[in-house]
Subunit: 360 residues, 3 copies
């Protein structure tokens, strides 16, 4: 527990871009990029237009016509091409100008920057760094969100805070009894710091075991164990600066006849910087039991209510940072429970240093 | 067609004032400065108060009391003088303090800056540079707007873009089929770049001829030629950074008996910078045929709808410029159709260089 | 009367903090800090949380949790302690962290900055400078506001101007006939500059005598002298940059039998900077005659209406300052009636110089 020494990595200075570019980030939910939609979204301080091609893939390019600078997302599609609303310059999905209505020739060399995109439903991932390093196989995939034996709910929030504030939020669940006093705080019991922290393969996790005790209401919902003692392991992992996965694994050691006795709940917390003081946040909650529409609706309602409470907190913290003439000098006292969050700062720092070294 | 070479004149950097001061700019419509009105308006980054004197002329001065800085436009008139709402300092139309209610004497030398103004109805023009160079004869006059054998409509829009974006807009009408797909784009046929560009006497024009073809609906309105082939010449001219005139001249070479066979339509596009990222825009549309109140109402409705479409486009372009950390480095690819617009940048540059040379 | 020479103290540059810290400033009205309230207020560019302890005293500390920066005012009280809404860090009124819910120990040395506070009802005063210099005895006290033989009304306004603009406003009442033409201007007669200015003990006053004349309506209200000639002395004093007192003393030299013939009206104008371009303004109007609820209601209505007129003026002046690229170079012509206001600038300058010398 200490005030960070001067010079320590401080990820919240609004004047600094604290995100790696060589990484798959969520750009959109699959359903947002559909039909004739030209989706305009600011990602990593860059204005992007996303749209779906006729072969079902998704194209992404800079959202600014090279001619006179109108956002292309204000234009319209013609087949796989985009027409600018100002003078009708037409762009291919490769960012090339393929038609200028008032003349025969088009510039051969000029092209908008395009971005590798890979869709692993329900998410569309974008690579905003060096395209040569973009390996679609490394974009995260969540097969359980497409598995009918699971039930899930998901949502989106625009949050006026740096994305790392949310990363640290989900790495320390001891805020439940305070921020979520009547929501998650009433549904689960996080009154102690997670005792175990794991760093492996570039990821950062906290692990917490609950042994032989009644299951929290949020997990018992539709299991209805009625206070029967069970075991549970929670593991929350910052897979990368873009991706956080939480898994609660429940073990009923003496299940009723015909019941498997093992149950899983996942949360995804997927954050993409919009600017250094705002971010996009996509979340999903899913589980492999009690599958029903009513369960999905309940999940959505519980999570939305709780995450709205986080949003208020994160935005108030960011506002104090924005109002400060010297954000790097704001005092900060860390607790034992911050261990995972502090390791995630190092995780981020490693990404940034790796990129800086590549560019040098 | 090319990306502008580094060092080329780039008129859209919000940190630079890209307007000449030694030029007549529109300050207001005549009807705005009337009765007891003290009209507050920001022009060329300067707050001005305008009001009409008893002799019918218009006075303009800095809109800030020299005493404690209240805008004089918040005060009231007493005859030809303005009384400040704070402590009652009274100013003459020459900007002199002529009364301080609490004392005998007034400062003799202190005076607000006043500005030469000339009214050529329906517009009031202001000169914000060196008063010695202000020649009222050079303020533009549009006699047809006061000629009962003409019909006209006019309007005002506040546009959140640099004024040069509108200048370039009206110098390249090939945006009609895209920006105005269902308005002007449906009423006139501008699917080709203007073939001729003229530079003369410091002005920049495009010229386009339509020979022996049916008249576009916007010009045929109330002429009702019924598809009869006629000739038409369009000429759009940037007279100065402050003034753009467009004229369509229609020639029916075999008019019906008693018809003159020649018809004229004018558009004025008068732009005055408010700041480097916003401007005032006054427009007028007029013609010398089909004079009626209904025609004026139709003109107003058509032009307002189309110009609102331009406003959306120009403001979106400006927003991208405002959001850019390096506006001068934004890519720009020009087309053949941009020739007049690019010449207008040189026209502006010549004004600015002339002023800089005078001041040196 | 002159334009201030270059280099003269100019108190309105928004980039400069023009307030002394070693001074008692009003932080709140007594009634605002009550029950479970955690009052968040920005004072002197610092975010403060104020709350009332069980012994009735008021605590004030920085409104930002040392852990992860959430405003403490978003949390809640437990007895005399504040619990942070994020992770439940608990603070004592001395700013110490007394509980971290997830661990045994708390940091011993880390503490939020706290501020000396003294309540002299109806106002709570705060000392934001060197605590060693804070002498509660020197915080202003207004016994007549707690005296049942007086009647008073008070209010609060948030004003988007530097606080010194209001200070100068109340030091020169010749704005009454202009800013308050139909309110105070109709109720009192301030058409001349105050003839006398007094500097004593670090205060600045104007003094104006009205001899043997009918009492102004604002003072005659509920006295009903019916035009009888009386004497009156007005004295307005900038006690410090934080405090302005105005007193009108009325002397009826031949009072009716049983009447004392001496009457007093006070105004307090208490200003506290929020930022360099905004301030908090608390006012009170009181008198020792005509005590009734109706009188209090009338006072409140008259003062609110007039002070709203001042607010419009001060905010317009500040806006011009904010819009100026060089506020220090804005012209300023002073009049005889500005003498008290100019002396108040020197009063402020002396405070600032004294503090700078102490810190050197």
């Amino acid at each position: 527990m200490s005030t960070p020494p001067s010079g320590q990595f401080q990820p919240y200075d609004p004047s600094v871009a604290n995100y790696p570019r060589n990484l798959w980030w969520v750009a959109a939910r699959s359903g947002e990029v559909d039909g004739d939609t030209l989706l305009a979204r600011r990602l990593l301080d860059t204005d992007i237009v996303l749209y779906r091609l006729r072969d079902g893939s998704v194209a992404a390019m800079d959202d600014r016509c090279m001619h006179r600078g109108l956002p292309l997302s204000m234009g319209w599609r013609e087949g796989d091409e985009i027409v600018c609303r100002y003078h009708g310059f037409k762009y291919s999905p490769q960012g090339k100008i393929v038609q200028i209505p008032t003349q025969e020739n088009c510039p051969k060399r000029a092209a908008l920057r395009t971005y590798p995109v890979v869709e692993k439903a329900p998410f569309i991932w974008i690579w905003m760094g060096d395209p040569a390093q973009a390996d679609p196989a490394k974009a995260p995939e969540y097969p359980w969100l497409n598995d009918p034996s699971w039930v899930w709910a998901g949502g989106y929030m625009h949050v006026k805070s740096n994305y790392m504030l949310l990363k640290e939020n989900v790495l320390d669940l001891t805020h439940f009894p305070f921020t979520h006093k009547t929501t998650f705080g009433a549904l689960d019991d996080y009154d102690e710091a997670a005792p175990n922290f794991v760093q492996e393969n570039g990821t950062v996790s906290f692990v917490k075991e609950f042994n032989n005790q009644a299951l929290s209401p949020i997990y018992d919902k539709d299991l209805n164990l009625g206070g029967k003692p069970v075991d549970r392991t929670d593991k929350g992992t910052s897979m990368s600066p873009a991706e956080h996965l939480f898994t609660a694994s429940v073990y009923d050691r003496s299940p009723p006849p015909g019941e498997r006795g093992e149950y899983t709940v996942h949360f995804q917390h997927l954050t993409t910087p919009e600017t250094s003081t705002t971010h996009h946040y996509w979340w999903a909650m899913s589980r492999d039991y009690g599958v029903s529409d009513a369960a999905a609706a309940w999940m959505e309602s519980v999570a939305k209510e709780a995450f709205a409470e986080d949003k208020v907190v994160l935005e108030a913290i960011q506002q104090r940072i924005n109002d400060s003439p010297a954000p790097r000098e704001l005092p900060e006292v860390s607790a034992v429970a911050d261990r995972a969050g502090l390791l995630a700062r190092r995780q981020l720092q490693a990404y940034l240093e790796r990129e800086a070294a590549q560019e040098a």
